[in-house]
Assembly symmetry: C2
Homo-oligomer: 145 residues x 2
């Protein structure tokens, strides 16, 4: 019932890109160091994000990553699901067949019913917020120097 490090790192990594000018290509090493994330682990995460079209990779000298869309077009949901796959509170939520219990009580599972509701609430929050929202919050709370 917790977020994985991969998800956490993914959001922070992408958020770091969003903080900068969108034309700036940023290497993994910089993100990794700035955010305190193991570089190879972050590489794996960004590979997924790259394939999903959330970030764009640039190889060669002075290569790195940029966002491939505007920050307000990237929902938190899509970042999380890219990294972890569709999250489900229980396996059976996605497909009834996953539930080894269902036959025993006439094919109906009350807990599943509740989890579907709960999950919907969660997803709505993540779908209803974009990178731009997080960025705005962060800027509003940054201590001015």
């Amino acid at each position: 019932m917790q977020f994985t490090k991969a998800e956490e790192y993914g959001v922070f990594g992408v958020l770091y890109l969003a903080e900068k000018d969108s034309s700036l290509v940023t290497p993994l090493s910089e993100i990794s160091e700035a955010q305190g994330i193991p570089e190879k682990f972050l590489a794996k995460i960004f590979q997924s994000l790259s394939k999903a079209g959330i970030v764009r990779s640039h190889r060669g000298v002075r290569g790195g990553f940029t966002l491939s869309k505007k920050a307000n077009e990237i929902t938190i949901k899509e970042i999380l699901e890219t990294i972890q796959g569709p999250y489900h509170l229980m396996k059976c939520v996605s497909s009834m067949s996953e539930c080894d219990r269902s036959e025993k009580i006439n094919g109906y599972c009350a807990l599943r019913e509740l989890l579907v509701i709960a999950e919907k609430q969660l997803v709505d929050v993540f779908e209803g917020h974009t990178l731009a929202d997080l960025l705005a919050w962060q800027r509003a709370n940054q201590i001015p120097h």
Copy 2:
């Protein structure tokens, strides 16, 4: 980002008690067999539920468990939290000090902000439903014989 087996077993176990007449003392072995749950594992779970005052244990011959409150007075939240402890999507949600990242960005964490919102939605669902609700759903969907 998933429920543990302990939580799942806990809800099904308590729900099984709720299905029966409230005066009936039901031994673990019966619940365990009926629900397909390892008995010793269920014992551990029910120990917590007993301490939390959700179920009441009866030792000795023909002992077992009963609900210690009415089904409509037992929220799903209290079952889940008893078994697993307060669930948090990230450690830092409970207390800022848990966040090793907060200093780096001026003590503010945008992801945390979002998770607090998301968590609130989840908790509301679990707090807003009781065992009686699950029981009612189950009965409404039982295939009549």
